[in-house]
């Protein structure tokens, strides 16, 4: 091993020296002098940066944004940037999805849940110097309302036509009139896509607002080089005194996970997300680096398409649930940074049912169930492996292989299949997969955003890929959606989880805690469960 490394190193050194010889020949015009100048130059800027303020943080991430206007996108990468440019009326908690004052300081709901009145924060300015007030809020809401689902996807899915009108009562009071109660109304308002934008800037830039974002957030947009980097800088007139701490943040796209970690280790970036779970021990062993765990708001699962072959039978699905060793999965692929999933939503979500117990890992029991269902000799099925890595599914192929071995042990022969990602989703969506790996990260931390979106019969054709249908569950979920009594809702969701557990449309696998890593000198960085982080408190030493 060592010998091989040695030879390799020699080869590299040889090639490099040749190249350097070539280079120096081409551009020998006063090399030394220029280099001397350069050294003082960079050090000079560094000193002033560090002396005057919080400096520059370079954030390395997997992909570029597609839009800087949060309202028109559904993409996680986009929100990572826009959360720092725009603010919402309601905020999520620092590291949870409880609701807190944002651009609205207080709010009130009518008895019937059809009228919400919000008091707005005074003295807030947009980056272009215009005032934030009730007019601006109404303008934004009307803009979203006027567009279709293609343009403003999240507005349509979270509010749709349930909002009748939005009225500016006075300069700092807005009133939302609904025609149907929306239980998670305030949680929805706290979602990244509902950042309030400057009306003047929207009118000025029109369609090009996606490249010229203007909000009230702690940072102001500076530059976007597509597929490369986005630069934002401190907003001098930000309403929260003393924030942001940093002068500038640069979001760099570094698509490959290992290359991103290399960039962190060599000091080119200060903070990265999308760290491989297998790299955690290496990072922990490096005194210059630190690991951050994002609180979980996700679930990884193996969907069992309820309309296909033996999987039509509830007993078979339960048997498969008994066959999977989740602890081993977590040890092998998540470096321990995950918990076994019992219900389709993580325990932080209000309404989570603690009383539901998981199908224990028990191959014997699984065989018995199979026998009872008439599949004593097992059966064959396809097992689809995700072709892309996600925080909840670091390596679809390997997880699929582990599950394949689990199923083999009870006599079920699973054939691993994979497609290019777009095709995978489309085919699975059409119910063409027997069993398939997939996952979900919550948008607003509400139970509806997991149970209804993923498992209700209304969601067949969209996110209910298993074609699971249960009319009792459907009624419960609709009732919970319309109720504005939080205690009642939680009770309903608890019932829903009992039903789902018994029907076993999935094998819930894990709730993972996605890993980030940064330089040791970073403080006050609090990763948010939704996946987009507010960087205003972050400091860099």
């Amino acid at each position: 091993m060592n010998k091989r490394k040695g030879i390799l190193f020699l080869v590299f050194a040889l090639l490099l020296s040749l190249a350097l010889v070539g280079c120096s020949g081409n551009s020998s015009t006063g090399g030394t002098k220029e280099e001397g100048e350069k050294d003082t130059g960079t050090e000079g800027t560094k000193d002033t940066e560090e002396g005057a303020g919080g400096g520059t943080l370079v954030f390395g991430r997997g992909g570029d944004s597609t839009s800087l206007d949060p309202a028109v996108t559904t993409e996680g990468e986009a929100f990572k940037v826009t959360d720092n440019l725009f603010e919402t009326l309601i905020n999520f908690g620092e590291q949870d999805t409880e609701i807190e004052p944002g651009l609205a300081t207080e709010w009130e709901t009518s008895e019937d849940g059809l009228k919400h009145t919000l008091k707005l924060r005074e003295g807030v300015k947009f980056h272009d110097g215009t005032d934030f007030n009730a007019e601006a809020v109404v303008f934004n809401l009307e803009r979203w309302k006027a567009g279709n689902a293609e343009q403003f996807y999240y507005y349509n899915s979270q509010f749709g036509d349930k909002i009748d009108s939005v009225v500016a009562v006075d300069e700092y009071t807005v009133e939302f009139n609904l025609n149907k109660p929306i239980a998670p109304f305030y949680k929805n308002l706290a979602m990244s896509p509902f950042g309030i934008a400057s009306p003047a800037a929207i009118e000025k830039h029109g369609e090009k607002f996606i490249e010229n974002p203007v909000g009230t957030g702690p940072f102001v947009f500076k530059e976007w080089k597509r597929n490369d980097r986005i630069t934002i800088e401190k907003f001098a007139d930000y309403w929260q005194e003393g924030l942001p701490k940093l002068d500038q943040v640069i979001f760099r796209s570094i698509p490959e996970n290992s290359a991103r970690l290399n960039a962190l280790a060599s000091g080119e970036v200060d903070l990265i997300d999308g760290v491989n779970f297998s790299d955690v021990p290496t990072i922990e062993g490096n005194p210059d680096l630190q690991v951050f765990e994002r609180p979980t708001l996700n679930v990884a699962y193996l969907g069992l398409t309820n309309t296909r072959g033996p999987l039509k039978d509830k007993l078979v699905r339960q048997a498969l649930n008994h066959a999977v060793d989740k602890k081993a999965l977590i040890e092998a692929f998540y470096a321990g940074a995950a918990d076994p999933a019992i219900n389709p939503m993580p325990p932080v979500v209000a309404g989570y049912n603690d009383a539901v117990e998981d199908y224990p890992y028990d191959p014997e029991k699984a065989k018995e169930l199979l026998k009872e269902a008439g599949y004593e000799n097992g059966f064959e099925m396809e097992l689809w492996a995700m072709p892309v890595a996600r925080p909840y599914m670091p390596d679809g192929q390997k997880v699929a292989e582990a599950l394949q071995a689990n199923f083999e042990a009870i006599g079920v022969k699973a054939k691993i299949v994979s497609y290019e990602w777009g095709t995978y989703l489309e085919k699975a969506n059409k119910g063409e997969a027997d069993s398939f790996l997939l996952g979900w990260t919550g948008d607003n931390g509400d139970a509806d955003n997991f149970l209804y979106v993923l498992l209700d019969e209304d969601a067949i054709g969209s996110n209910n890929y298993t074609y699971y249908k249960n009319s009792e569950l459907h009624e419960i979920l609709l009732k919970a959606q319309a109720s504005s009594d939080q205690a009642e809702r939680e009770e309903l969701y608890k019932q829903a989880q009992v039903i789902i557990k018994d029907d076993a449309p999935w094998i819930p696998l894990v709730h993972s805690r996605p890993i980030l890593a940064g330089k040791a000198g970073i403080s006050n960085f609090k990763p948010h469960p939704t996946g987009s982080d507010l960087l205003s408190h972050v400091e860099l030493k």
Binding site: T42, A149, P255, G422
Partner: protein
Amino acid sequence: MFSYTIKRVLSLVPVLLGLSLIVFFMIRAIPGDPAQIILGQLATKEAVEELTKQLGLDQPWYIQYFTYLGGLLTGDLGESIKTKTAISQEIWPYLAATIELSFCAIVIAIVIGVNAGIISAWYQNSWFDYIAMVLALIGVSMPIFWLGLMEQWVFAINLDWLPTSGREEVRNPVTSITNIYMIDTLLQGRMDQFWDVVKHLILPAFALATIPMAIIARITRSSMLEVMRSDFIRTARAKGLRMFWVVYKHSLKNAIIPVLTIIGLQTGLLLGGAILTETIFSWPGMGRYIYDAINARDYPVIQSGILIIAFIFVMINLVVDLLYAVIDPRIKYN
């Protein structure tokens, strides 16, 4: 020669037409409905239908094709579905990044590859020859992904000589004029940034150069061996010419034609085939631009991107063909 050039350029027209047709059909053979993928998993049927109409995807294929072709002739490469920007407007920064990287890579590949090939041939069966050809064999079969990560690990992390990725130090960004950063920094007289850009280029350029370098070395060696067995070389050596002249003037000139062909082909391949290098070194070039477009089913971008690369490929090979005549007077085109 002149009339040949004209003829060759004219003959490009059917080639490019055929190319555009192949690209057009290949893209439509990708499974998946673009409207569905663009709108995401939760889109309604109506929205999908509306977008399909808006994109013109409900039209018969020949109408779609001729609309596209008509646009091309007027310099309109279409509009990206994802960014809603004209492709002709947004493509240049990616193309410039790719050109800069490919250029450096091919220069490295030629300088090292040709010289290694010559020395190997001259000292045939010496230890240098053996080592160079074993290395060339390794180079041809090198997994670029692994090589790139190893380069980063050795030169960026352990030795701390070079940066791991990107085109520039983002804390001290280059102001782009042409988007070819080596030129931009020189134009602005920023030597500090010029060195920084060069440093960023070294690792990806070497990774990208590895395979062509190995191929060029092998071809040069075998071509040189053939030439060196010929009588005129023996004569040259017999009359006491300095070795340098024998090699670089007499032998190389006669041996260069097949090498040139390979260089032309490899340069073309670099332009389109840099996706792995671009991914590992987060180089914002054409490979990733097209790859992302494929994932997003951004038809116009895939079409125009591939077509532009194909066009450059064809042009490079045209230039190579014409160079034959310049280098070797025995080749005459009529």
